[in-house]
């Protein structure tokens, strides 16, 4: 085999501006979807644990079904299917946000649920014994503890969101991946450009993972210094997720 | 695997009748990490004659378990040598010389297959029945057929009164029963030397006697044993010799009765009076 390929790394440096722009879009898309699923995930988790059976079932079905679908199918379904039915023309960005949010809300609901269940019943009883109404005791006693327990896992979910968001490029969003595909079509240097993009994603993911790890250590220290004899609830470490994300 | 069997004729000719001689054993954990370095053994010599029971006593952390693990090379010594049935092995692994490495591995296997060990926490394989626990070594290390190993396994289990539980899993056994299976597992290898590392320490008080009884019977059958224990009654009655270890050294050694009844060293005296009171 004659190895005649001439690398053209200069194309990467010439494209740096476009790639940076794409990266910004990737970050915006991820951040928005992350924020939305952070809120909606809690709502679904509360619905699952609320003392109202139909709501529990509904929330359970949501988490089971919506975790089973891949992001690509969400994107197709929303961008083409929903758009056709309702006559709404989602742009790729909006479709991406909705798709990422639907999937990650289901994941985050499970994280919140585990965290909420890990809070000792005694905490709730103590709050109620102080005469706090249910909603108050949840807001000021249960939730803050659960959130702290859940936070590292939630941040890890951001890692998956960033990776998954690359799929939205398929419907033409010019995020980091979309920009790269575009550049490849014009400059014909697929190896160099995809390598550069892969490296960018790896760097981004490593930073975010490190952040989650740092957060986890911080919180562990903080919590263990807290209430005397209080068992610190910690979710199973998800620093190393066991699946390659929703893709 | 003929080279693994210890021929009885060979045993007769061993110098001085020693089954095992450990000389100048040194062991340090976390070597090179100045702050975490622990010198656990600092030049230990012990030897056991055929059919004898050597009891090792000493305070927690004095290195008794580490010494046993040096003798069967589960945790090889940093310095010193162990001579077992006339074969001498040191902790120096010939890493980059394939031929010597193979010879070393063969010697290691000889040690492991002919030295049985019983652990404080049993270390039974939870995914195997009692019979399979006992049969594993004979099939995988001695090359017995499945049926031969099974036969031997059931016989060994019966010998320790566990014939009924051959098909039980470890989780279905009491502590005492687990330790009996562990003893059967070691004996199924037909070892020439048995090591006991606090075999009764993890047991409920009412179960200790049974296991000690088992060990005593084994000693009476002529087995050569090294026993780490805090049971002074057993040491005095069954032990032939006792060594007292402290801070990685043998502080005092002597015939079991005289050492326990009449310790000479003041550290031995302090330890014995603390443990017997």
């Amino acid at each position: 085999m004659t190895f005649a390929y001439v690398f053209q790394w200069e194309i990467v440096s010439e494209s740096a501006g476009a790639l940076a722009h794409g990266l910004r879009l990737t970050l915006e898309l991820s951040a928005l979807a992350f924020a939305l699923s952070l809120v909606l995930g809690l709502a679904v988790a509360v619905a699952r644990l609320a003392p109202f059976r139909p709501l529990n079932v509904l929330a359970y079905v949501y988490t089971q079904v919506f975790r089973a679908l891949s992001l690509y199918i969400y994107v197709l379904f929303i961008y083409f299917g929903i758009a056709a039915i309702f006559g709404i023309n989602f742009g790729p960005f909006a479709a991406g946000v909705v798709a990422l949010t639907l999937l990650n809300t289901a994941y985050m609901a499970e994280i919140y649920r585990a965290a909420l269940l890990s809070i000792e019943p005694g905490q709730r009883e103590a709050a109620l014994a102080l005469g706090l109404p249910h909603s108050r005791s949840f807001a000021s006693v249960i939730f803050p503890q659960a959130f702290r327990t859940a936070l590292p896992s939630l941040v890890n979910q951001l890692v998956d969101i960033v990776k998954d968001s690359s799929v939205v490029a398929v419907i033409g969003l010019l995020d980091l991946m979309g920009t790269t595909i575009d550049l490849v079509n014009n400059r014909h240097a697929p190896f160099e450009l995809y390598t550069a993009t892969a490296v960018t994603y790896v760097a981004l993911i490593l930073v975010l993972s490190a952040l989650a790890a740092l957060l986890e250590r911080r919180l562990a220290r903080h919590v263990s210094g807290g209430s005397a004899g209080g068992r610190v609830a910690r979710l199973p470490r998800r620093r190393f997720a066991d699946h390659p994300g929703g893709a | 695997m003929p080279e693994l069997s210890a021929e009885p004729e060979a045993l007769a000719g061993i110098a001085g009748g020693w089954i095992v001689v450990a000389e100048g054993i040194h062991k340090t954990f976390n070597r090179g990490h100045a702050d975490r370095e622990v010198r656990v053994l600092r030049g230990v010599d012990v030897s056991v004659a055929k059919g004898d029971v050597l009891v090792v006593i000493g305070p927690s952390g004095s290195g008794k378990s580490t010494l046993l693990r040096c003798i069967n090379f589960l945790g090889p010594p940093d310095e010193g040598s162990v001579t077992f049935l006339g074969r001498t092995l040191t902790g120096a692994v010939p890493r980059f010389r394939p031929a010597e490495r193979m010879r070393y591995e063969r010697e290691l296997r000889f040690f492991r297959t002919h030295i049985g060990i019983v652990f404080q926490h049993f270390n039974l394989f939870p995914h195997m029945t009692a019979a399979d626990n006992v049969a594993l070594g004979p099939t995988r290390a001695l090359g017995l057929s499945r049926s031969q190993a099974r036969e031997r396994s059931v016989a060994e289990l019966e010998r320790v009164g566990m014939g009924e539980k051959a098909n039980a899993y470890p989780s279905q056994l009491s502590g005492g029963q687990k330790q009996r299976v562990a003893i059967a597992r070691a004996l199924a290898m037909r070892p020439q030397l048995m090591l006991f590392d606090e075999a009764t320490s993890a047991l409920d008080p009412e179960l200790i006697g049974g296991i000690l009884e088992e060990m005593k019977r084994l000693a009476e059958s002529g087995m050569t044993m090294i026993v780490v224990t805090h049971e002074m009654g057993f040491a005095r009655e069954v032990g032939d010799r006792v060594v007292f270890m402290d801070e990685g050294r043998v502080v005092e050694e002597g015939p079991a009765r005289s050492l326990i009844d009449n310790p000479q060293n003041e550290r031995t005296q302090a330890f014995l009076s603390a443990i017997l009171s």
């Binding site: 679908l69 929703g246 | 589960l74």
Partner: protein
């Protein structure tokens, strides 16, 4: 809004007529995932063993591999292998080969961490007991460590499998004839996006449900008394 809803005429005909094509496509997703998963497990186990090695020279590359692979989005990896590597090396993979390569390599980074966790969860006394019986390193892995590890890793490995199955739906992008491609073609030819993509969503949910149930059964079967 209401008018818009009414404007869309549901037409399940094209989807229902092609149920066999959908199932055939789903089968491609399933076998590609199954094969990739098997490869990922073999590779992952090897990497896990390296990760636990006493030699830093083996431990570090294994660690770097895991970190690197897990940072690359599947789609980027797929394009890198299918378009990027092809042009450099001068040999091109078929779409399905590229998909299998990408899914197995990605999967291996996850299974490696799962196996490592499983192996580390086993008490050191188990290894000592096995070695004291004269079993060698490999026999110890085979008869003592792996049977115990398997029981620990089945649930997380099940998650990895589901993740790979979901990842496999991306391969239609490089023209592998899987169920997503069938749906896409139906949509292009009959303009029934809702029906076409609902169909594959239902298939995927069903596949995941069946698979999760099988994992639970397997877990229960292997559970020790």
């Amino acid at each position: 809004m209401t008018a818009a809803v009414l404007a869309y005429v549901f037409n399940w005909g094209p989807v229902l007529d092609r149920w066999d094509e959908f199932l055939l496509g789903a089968w491609v997703d399933v076998w590609v995932t199954g094969l990739s998963f098997a490869l990922a497990c073999c590779l992952g186990l090897g990497i896990a063993v390296l990760r636990l090695s006493g030699t830093a020279l083996l431990r570090w590359p294994a660690f770097a591999y895991v970190q690197l692979i897990r940072g690359v989005p599947l789609l980027v990896f797929l394009y890198w292998v299918y378009f990027g590597i092809a042009i450099v090396v001068g040999l091109s993979f078929s779409p399905i080969e590229a998909a299998i390569i990408v899914l197995s390599l990605t999967g291996s980074a996850y299974t490696a961490e799962i196996f490592r966790g499983g192996l580390q969860a086993i008490d050191r006394g188990q290894v000592e007991a096995s070695r004291s019986l004269g079993l060698g390193r490999i026999a110890t892995y085979r008869h003592v460590l792996l049977p115990q590890t398997i029981r620990i890793v089945i649930p997380p490995l099940g998650n990895t499998f589901v993740g790979l199955l979901k990842g496999a739906t991306l391969m239609s992008i490089i023209a592998v004839q899987d169920m997503v491609l069938v749906a896409t073609n139906v949509n292009i030819n009959y303009f029934t996006p809702f029906e076409a993509f609902t169909a594959i969503a239902v298939i995927l949910v069903a596949l995941v449900a069946v698979f999760s149930a099988s994992v639970s059964v397997l877990e229960r079967t292997l559970r020790l008394p």
